[in-house]
Amino acid sequence: MPLKEELPETIKELLEEQKIKEEEILLALQSDLNDKGQFSPTWLIATKDKILVISTDDTKPKLLQSLPLKDYKFFKAEIGVGGGFFSACSDGYERRLLRFTTATARKFQVAANALGRLVNEGHIPPDILAEEESKKVCPRCGFPVDPVSGICPQCSPKGAVVRRLLSYIKPYYPTILILVSLLLLGTAFDVISPLVSRNMIDKALVVREPTPTETRLALLKAYVLLMAGLGIGSMLLGIFQQRIYAFLGNSVLFDIRRQLFEHLQFLSVSYYDKRQVGAVMSRVTQDTSALQEFLGWHIPFLFSQMVLLLGIGAVMISLNWRIALLVLIPTPLVAYLTRVMGRKIHHLFHRVWDRWSKVIAVLNSALSGIRVVKAFAQEEREAQRFRERAQELTWNTIWAEQLWATYMPPLFFLFGATPLLVWYFGGKQLILDPAHMSMGTLQAFISYTFMILGPIQAVTRVVNWLTRALAATERIFEILDTPPEVLDDENAIPMPRIEGRVEFRNVTFGYDRYLPVLHNVSFEVKPGEIIGLVGRSGAGKTTIINLICRFYEAQEGQILIDGVDIRKIRLRDLRNQIAIVPQDAYVFAGTVRENIAYGKPDATLEEIIEAAKAANAHEFIMNLPYGYDTPIGERGVMISGGERQRIAIARAILKNPRILILDEATSLVDTETEKQIQEALDRLMQGRTVFAIAHRLSTLSNAHRLIVIEDGRIAEMGTHKELLQKKGIYYQLVKLQREMSRLVAIGV
């Protein structure tokens, strides 16, 4: 993110008056609001020892504030709803510098961090400048860019994408060659057909020179047979074409979809933090489908229609160029009109669809919550809500259908108008100048007039199709181009057996590098030690765990496992020896057996049962209808949170990890279940290094040491007894929980 935005000339002049040289400026950011809350750019400018705020409300910019930097200790960018403010602070003093909307809030958060470090460290560290800001809107056209890839569907260059897409089709070139030849042949049949009927009319039906009846009848028979042959040929070619399209489109799609999913699996956790799962999923489902539609349907259709257009045009011009022009010139106009009308009607029906979804929303909430509705005796109000929504749907549907009914007939009439022109002018020529126009030719023209509508419409849509499909393709390629998580450094150290010593050395980390969650955290854990992580939510407990698993990498400091920097350990070895039992255990769609053996697919049946027993899960599993073969997860048998939790524990036990992480593993279950889970966990913790997070401090009773985290820093560290004697934060937390639950859980 650039901390120095391009300054307008007028502001440069003002800075010159203030005797500030351009190279002295360390930070120059534009906010979009003035101090009265009106949309008007205001600038925040900082040098090594000064902060300036400049308004641009009038033609000449005005210096609003000029402050010595050394008077302030830290800076804040506070964001509310839609807007916020930037302020400079020292002990017990706050000075508002400027206002901003959420559109520019982000850079002022960065500025707060940067200026704070400028005051305290004397310079702005270069890594603050390193990170690229993700754009939400295309700088060229102003429309939103794709939220996952940041690509503008309209403005990005297309050539490279097309070439890359073609590389996927390359293995299928022979098939494509066959397809193209079939296509050309089929089109030829279609174009020839009216010519045959022309000859039939002129030579057999409406003859000018006297011809014997037998000859005419024979000719008629021959032509009809020829037309039948052409028809059957065209049909057969069509069948082959469709079959090949189906094969080609889906094969290419499979290649892309498979590659996409494989790639998604190897992307880092932080990739998914920044994106919604739904948005990523739509890349795999919708974008690939859009691509399939394009490859399997639009491209062949367009191609065949183009060939058809050229064929018909050529034949018509060779038959009679004047009449040909009569057909070719107005047709695009008609096509254009249909498109405009189509859009309008599409909008109306889109609105109907929107109202439909609102009706469904009412239905859904009222019926899913039927118990609540009844318990609060609100049936009549729900009925009223439904009536309102349904009525709106009805009216919108009526409007849309009436509009359709009114505008479509004139449009269809227009379609029929070009043939009228051909009838009139062609017919006139037939009467006045029979040498150059025959009944058959006239008939052929009429056929061509109808045949040409398809290709013309295809042409009007081609831009739209192409843009959509290429946008989808680009989004897919963007994911494929995102570098996967670095699995193994070249010099990665294999660690087949981890002892379990974990050390944090001055670790500072933020998911967003400008907003650190952990500050300078250091601690050392011996193999086999059980550590309880304590602190309020958001303090940074889960973050510590994420770093131990190397889901993220620390921005500053080092994390060592058995004395080796975690970044140098072979990731596969590391993850194979760490197990997590999360707060909300996830079960995959599959059987109990598959779920327990997830981390060790080749586990024997004894091992699985042993693990389940150790996890206190065997008993409930045996009560399921198919025992260990019972399907659970999505579309499986419903199991409770506590049962899921125990399956997760069994999964962890089977993996036999060296480092075990319990992330509030018992927070979502009742006390009885908690006891069972706690028992299982105690067994699991034997002989391993354990990090346990718990809100209920009672569950940490067997921890060897506790680490209390507050606002991303280690506040206290020691045994349960030591911390109680210290009467610090831990003491207060224990007291608070006792007051709240009146549970004497910890043996004091």
């Binding site: 609001l33 809350g37 009106q38 949309f39 008007s40 506070e78 964001i79 509310g80 709803v81 839609g82 807007g83 916020g84 403010f85 302020s87 017990g92 003093y93 706050e94 000075r95 508002r96 206002r99 909307t101 959420t102 559109a103 939400k136 809107v137 102003g142 429309f143 939103p144 939220p147 569907p153 309209q154 909008h347 609105r351 929107d354 979804s357 843009t467 959509r468 946008a471 309020r536 507050e710 506040a715 934060i729 207060q732 937390l733 608070l736």
Partner: protein
């Protein structure tokens, strides 16, 4: 500060007597709350019902988010305190009111707008109109732009006829 973090959890709602409340804007722009003998500075203010009852139940907080107390009705405070609070709320609850729509352009379901608001003229863009334009109640519309900024139209019937036509053309 750590001490206060735990007190925060235990704190109860404390309703302040309006006569004793005085909110002053100090040099530098941040607000100070005086309540009898108590002095709090700098403070933050927050509405309990920002959309439906913006002038009732205003909560005062310390800059670290600890609750100091609440006033039930802003109009019972003296004029200066009331003005200061409203100005502060305007800063942290910023929802421009759309007065006029110049144009709306659509492309692939996303859209670009040029509007006149009570905060001046603004161009913005939205993702899918279906998700960005919400009808809160009949004729009361809230539009969320790509940056997360919201714009409000309290009553579409009060828009100039041309603006209303443009709006109805897309929703």
């Amino acid at each position: 500060m750590l001490q206060s973090a735990f007190e925060r959890e235990k704190s109860q709602i404390r309703v302040l007597e309006p006569d004793k409340v005085k909110v002053i804007r100090r040099e530098g722009g941040a607000l100070e709350l005086r309540y009898g003998e108590e002095v709090h500075y700098p403070i933050r203010v927050k509405q309990a019902f920002p959309l439906t009852n913006p002038e009732n139940y205003i909560v005062f907080l310390t800059e670290h988010g600890k609750q100091i107390g609440m006033v039930e009705d802003l109009n019972k405070l003296d004029e200066e305190s009331r003005k200061n609070i409203l100005e502060e709320l305007d800063t942290v609850f910023f929802v421009p009111q759309i007065k006029k729509i110049f144009w709306i352009k659509e492309r692939f379901g996303s859209s670009k707008w040029k509007v006149e608001t009570d905060r001046g003229i603004r161009e913005f863009s939205t993702r899918s109109l279906h998700e960005s334009v919400k009808e809160v109640e009949d004729g009361h519309i809230v539009i969320t732009d790509t940056e997360g900024l919201q714009y409000e139209i309290k009553n579409i019937d009060e828009l100039p006829p041309k603006s209303k036509k443009i709006l109805l053309g897309v929703i």
